[in-house]
C-alpha cells in the first residue's frame, strides 16, 4: 500500500503545483512508475483544500457527537441534556429487556440522523424561547416534535414530548388554559395508545373540564370541547367493554352516552345509546333498555344508517320479547330483516330470519316460521355459513308444521292411516299433509309383518342394560 504524501499548506500549494506540473511535462519520461504515481497523488492532494481542526473533528466524530457539540456550543445545555438522557434512557431500557425483546431490534435514535435533526431544530428553538419566557413557543415546539414522532411511529418519543408539552403548557398565562386543555387531550390520547385507559380518561376529563363552555377551535370543523367529548365517549365505551360487572359497565356507558351527546356526533350518540340499551337489557331492565334503544332508533333513522337500524331492531326485539310484548318484537324483527335485505347484509338477514322463525315457531305460526327459516337456510347456503344451524331449525319448523296433520292421522284409528304414515316414512312424499281421500279404489293389502322402526334402538338399549 502506498502512503499519501504529507498535506501541504494552502499558501505554498499553488506554487508547488506549478513547479511539479512543469516538472512533470519535462521529466515524465525519465521518471520511474513509482514516482509517477506519487506525482499523481500529489496533484490530487493539492486540489483538496486543507482541513481545519474543526473539520477533522467533525469528520472523526459520530453524528450524535457533533450534534451535541453544536448544541452545547450555542449554550443549549438543556436541549443537550434532554437528548442525551433520552438516548441513555432508551439504551438502559433496551439492556434491561434483553436480547429477546422487541426493543432489542429497534434502531437506535443515534443512527437516525433525520430524527436527530428534528429534535435539534425544535429543542433549541424551544430553549431559546424558554429563555425569553415565551412559553407558547416552547409548547408549540414540543407539540410539533410529538406529532412528528407520532407520525414516524416512535411512540416513546412522542409520549415524552407530549408530556413535556403539557408541563410547559402549565406555565402559559393569559390564554385561559387553552394550551393546557389541548396538551391534556393529547396526553390522554397517548395514554390510550399505551393501553392505560384509566389514566387516559382522567386526563381527558381534565381537558373536558378546562374546555367546558369555550369556543376554541380544533381543526376547521369542530371545537376542542366537542373533540374531547368524542374521545371521552370512546374511551368510556372501551372501558365499559373491559369492566367486569354489569353495574360498572352501566355507569361507564352512561358517562359515554352523556359525552357523546355533548360531543354532538349523532352517530356516536346513537351507538352509545345502543350500547347502553343492550347493557340495560343485560341488567334485566328491559324497560329502560327500550327507552334508550328507542332513542337510538330515532337517531339511526335520522342518519339513515340502515346497519345501525338493523342492530337496534335486533336489540329492541329482544327487549320487547323479554317484556312479553311479542307484537312489537315481531315488528322490530321484520324491520330488521327488511333493512338487512335491502342492504344486502346476508349474515344479518340470516340472523333476522332465524329470530323471526323462532318467534313464530314458539307462537305456533309454523307456516310463517317455515317461510322464514327457509329463506334463512337459502341465504346461509349461499354464504356457506351456519348451514347446519339453519338446516336444523328449518327441519324443526317443518316438523312442527306437520304436527297437525300427524295428529289428525293418528286420531283415525284405522289401519290405513298407519300405512299412510309408514308410506310417508318410506318415501317422504309431500302428500302427507293433504286431506284424506274419502274413498279408496283398492283396499290395501295387509302386510304380513309390520316392521318396528324402533327395534334397532331397543336392541341397543337392551345391550346397554
Amino acid at each position: 500500500m502506498t502512503t499519501l504524501p504529507a498535506i501541504k499548506r494552502k499558501g505554498t500549494a499553488g506554487s508547488n503545483k506549478d513547479r511539479t506540473s512543469s516538472l512533470s511535462t519535462k521529466n515524465m519520461r525519465f521518471m520511474t512508475w513509482k514516482d509517477r504515481e506519487l506525482l499523481k497523488q500529489q496533484n490530487i492532494r493539492d486540489e483538496k483544500p486543507t482541513m481545519t481542526k474543526v473539520e477533522t473533528a467533525t469528520y472523526r466524530n459520530s453524528y450524535k457527537h457533533n450534534l451535541c457539540i453544536a448544541m452545547l456550543k450555542d449554550g443549549f445545555h438543556k436541549s443537550f441534556d434532554e437528548l442525551f438522557s433520552l438516548i441513555e434512557m432508551r439504551k438502559a431500557e433496551r439492556e434491561e429487556s434483553g436480547p429477546d425483546s422487541v426493543l432489542w431490534q429497534e434502531r437506535s435514535l443515534e443512527e437516525q440522523e433525520e430524527k436527530l435533526d428534528q429534535i435539534w431544530l425544535y429543542l433549541t428553538k424551544a430553549e431559546s424561547s424558554l429563555r425569553a419566557g415565551k412559553w407558547e413557543e416552547v409548547y408549540m415546539c414540543r407539540h410539533k416534535l410529538a406529532e412528528y414522532f407520532l407520525e414516524s411511529e416512535d411512540r416513546w418519543l412522542s409520549d415524552h414530548f407530549y408530556k413535556t408539552a403539557l408541563e410547559s403548557s402549565l406555565n402559559i398565562r393569559l390564554d385561559g388554559h387553552r394550551r393546557e386543555a389541548e396538551a391534556r387531550c393529547n396526553m390522554g390520547l397517548s395514554h390510550e395508545r399505551n393501553g392505560d385507559l384509566k389514566a387516559a380518561a382522567d386526563e381527558m376529563e381534565k381537558a373536558h373540564h378546562l374546555s367546558l363552555g369555550r369556543m376554541w377551535m380544533a381543526g376547521a370543523a369542530s371545537t376542542l370541547h366537542k373533540v374531547v367529548c368524542r374521545h371521552l365517549s370512546r374511551m368510556y365505551t372501551t372501558l365499559a367493554e373491559r369492566s367486569s360487572t354489569v353495574i360498572d359497565a352501566q355507569k361507564l356507558l352512561h358517562r359515554s352516552y352523556d359525552m357523546s351527546k355533548e360531543g354532538e356526533d349523532p352517530l356516536q350518540e346513537a351507538t352509545a345509546a345502543l350500547r347502553l340499551g343492550r347493557n340495560y337489557e343485560l341488567a334485566k331492565d328491559s324497560e329502560t333498555a327500550i327507552e334508550h334503544l328507542g332513542r337510538c332508533l330515532e337517531g339511526a333513522q335520522d342518519l339513515g344508517d340502515s346497519e345501525l337500524i338493523g342492530e337496534v331492531c335486533e336489540a329492541l326485539a329482544k327487549s320487547h320479547q323479554t317484556q312479553g310484548n311479542v307484537g312489537r318484537s315481531i315488528e322490530c324483527l321484520e324491520l330488521f330483516a327488511e333493512t338487512s335485505r335491502t342492504n344486502n347484509h346476508k349474515r344479518k338477514l340470516v340472523d333476522a330470519c332465524n329470530c323471526l322463525g323462532v318467534v313464530y315457531n314458539t307462537l305456533g305460526h309454523y307456516d310463517k316460521a317455515v317461510n322464514h327459516f327457509d329463506s334463512a337456510y337459502g341465504v346461509a347456503t349461499e354464504l356457506q355459513q351456519d348451514v347446519e344451524e339453519s338446516g336444523v331449525q328449518l327441519g324443526i319448523a317443518k316438523g312442527n308444521q306437520l304436527l297437525n296433520a300427524f295428529k289428525q292421522n293418528m286420531e283415525i284409528p284405522s289401519r290405513f292411516m298407519l300405512d299412510r304414515i309408514s308410506i310417508w316414512k318410506d318415501e317422504r312424499a309431500n302428500e302427507f299433509g293433504q286431506p284424506l281421500p274419502t274413498k279408496y279404489e283398492t283396499p290395501p293389502k295387509t302386510p304380513e309383518k309390520i316392521p318396528d322402526p324402533t327395534e334397532p334402538f331397543r336392541e341397543v338399549e337392551r345391550m346397554q342394560t
Binding site: 456550543k73 449554550g75 445545555h77 438543556k78 441534556d81 442525551f84
Partner: protein
C-alpha cells in the same frame, strides 16, 4: 469526646509528625550520600534507579524551599516518597545472577510507578494551592516516570501533560501551555483506549487555554466536548459535569450573553444542590446513629467524605463565584440567590465548616423573605438546627 482526649490525640499526631520529619531528614541525607557515592554504576538498572533517586531529592528540595513541608498532608506525601528512595531489593555489590536482575527490575518498575503517581499527586496539590512554579517540576518528573513505565505514546502521560498545561496557564506562559496541551490531545487522539474521563479533562484544559487567549468560539467548542465526554462517563447531571457547565457559563458571561450564562449557572447550582442534599441526608443519618451508638471508628468517619480534594476546592470556587455573580447582578433574582446560598450552606456543612454553613443558611432565609409570597421557594435548610446542636456538642 473530652477535651483532654482531643489534646492527647493532637499531641500524639504532633509527635508522629516530628518523628516522620526526622525520618525524612535521615532518609534524604542517606539518599544524597548514596547518590554522591554511586559514581561508577554497575548496569542500566542502577543508572535508572540513581536517576530516580536524584529526581526525588530534587523535588523534595524544591518543596522544602517553598516551605510546604511543614503541613501534615505534605509530610505524609514526602514520607511515602522517601520510602521509595531506599536502595533496591537484592542489589549486590558484585556480579548478580539473572534472577536477581529480574527482582531488581521489578522493584525498579514498581518504584517508578509509585513515583509517577506520587509526583502527579504532588503536582496536582501544588496546583490547588496556587503554587504553579513548584507544580512544573513535579509534573515534569511525573511525566518522565510515566514515559519510563508506559512508553511515549500512552494515555497515561496525559494527566501529567494536563498538570503542566494548567501550571503554564497559571504562570501566563500560554504558548508553552499550548504545546503541552497539543501534545496531550495528540496522545489522546492516537490512543484508542482513552477514557471519556481523561478526554473531558483534556478538553476542559484546552478550553481554558482558549478562554485565556480570548478565543471564545473555540473555548465554547472545547467545553462542549468536555461536557459531552463527561456526560458519557458520568451522566449529564453529575457533579463531574458541572465544571464544564461552569466554565461555559463564564465564557457566555464574558461574551455578555447573560440569559445563557444564567441558565448555565442555574444548572450548576441545581446539580450541586441535589448532590449536596443527598450528602447532607447521609451525613445527618450518620450523625444521628453515632449519637446513639457511641463513638465510631475512624474508618466510618472516613466514609462520610463525599468527594475528593480536587472536587472540594472546585466546588468551593465554583459555588462562591456563582454566588457573587447572582449577588452582583443588576436585577437580583432572589430565587436563585436563595438556592445558591442554600447550596453553599450545605457544602460548608458537609465540609464541617459550621460557621459559614450557618451564615449562608441565614442569607438563604433572608433572600427567601424578600420573595413575593406566592412564589414557590426551595425549602429552607432544615439541617441548620442539627448543625447548631452538633456545634454545641463539639465545643
Amino acid at each position: 469526646m473530652s477535651r483532654t482526649g482531643l489534646e492527647k490525640t493532637w499531641d500524639q499526631t504532633q509527635d508522629d509528625l516530628e518523628k516522620s520529619r526526622q525520618k525524612i531528614q535521615t532518609a534524604l541525607k542517606s539518599a544524597k550520600d548514596r547518590s554522591k557515592k554511586n559514581v561508577n554504576l554497575e548496569d542500566d538498572i542502577d543508572t535508572k534507579f540513581n536517576q530516580l533517586q536524584n529526581l526525588g531529592i530534587k523535588l523534595l528540595d524544591i518543596l522544602k524551599e517553598s516551605g510546604l513541608d511543614q503541613h501534615p498532608d505534605w509530610i505524609k506525601l514526602t514520607e511515602s516518597m522517601c520510602q521509595l528512595l531506599v536502595p533496591l531489593e537484592g542489589s549486590m555489590p558484585f556480579m548478580s545472577s539473572s534472577e536477581e536482575r529480574e527482582i531488581r527490575k521489578k522493584d525498579l518498575l514498581h518504584r517508578q510507578k509509585s513515583m509517577m503517581e506520587l509526583t502527579r499527586v504532588i503536582g496536582q496539590k501544588l496546583l490547588f494551592d496556587g503554587k504553579h512554579n513548584q507544580a512544573v517540576p513535579a509534573a515534569v518528573q511525573s511525566l518522565r516516570f510515566s514515559i519510563d513505565v508506559h512508553g511515549l505514546n500512552s494515555v497515561n502521560l496525559v494527566p501529567s501533560y494536563l498538570i503542566l498545561g494548567e501550571a503554564s496557564i497559571g504562570l501566563g506562559k500560554l504558548s508553552q501551555a499550548d504545546e503541552y496541551l497539543a501534545q496531550a490531545e495528540w496522545t489522546v487522539l492516537k490512543a484508542p483506549d482513552a477514557t471519556d474521563a481523561i478526554k473531558s479533562k483534556l478538553y476542559r484544559n484546552i478550553a481554558l487555554l482558549y478562554a485565556a487567549k480570548g478565543d471564545y468560539e473555540n473555548a465554547l467548542r472545547m467545553l462542549a466536548e468536555d461536557i459531552y465526554h463527561a456526560s458519557n462517563q458520568w451522566g449529564t447531571k453529575d457533579i463531574h459535569t458541572t465544571g464544564g457547565y461552569f466554565h461555559m457559563a463564564n465564557v457566555f458571561f464574558r461574551q455578555n450573553k447573560m440569559d445563557v450564562a444564567d441558565s448555565l449557572y442555574n444548572q450548576v447550582t441545581d446539580t450541586w444542590f441535589e448532590f449536596l442534599a443527598e450528602a447532607v441526608k447521609k451525613k445527618t443519618a450518620v450523625q444521628s446513629t453515632t449519637g446513639f451508638l457511641g463513638p465510631t471508628t475512624p474508618e466510618e468517619i472516613q466514609d462520610t467524605r463525599f468527594f475528593d480534594e480536587a472536587q472540594e476546592s472546585e466546588a468551593i470556587q465554583m459555588l462562591n463565584a456563582v454566588y457573587d455573580i447572582c449577588e452582583q447582578s443588576s436585577k437580583p433574582n432572589f430565587v436563585a440567590i436563595s438556592k445558591i446560598c442554600h447550596t453553599l450552606s450545605m457544602l460548608y456543612f458537609v465540609l464541617d465548616d459550621m460557621t459559614r454553613a450557618q451564615e449562608f443558611g441565614r442569607r438563604s432565609i433572608t433572600a427567601n423573605e424578600r420573595l413575593p409570597a406566592n412564589v414557590e421557594t426551595p425549602a429552607v435548610p432544615i439541617f441548620l438546627n442539627l448543625s447548631n446542636s452538633s456545634k454545641r456538642l463539639a465545643t
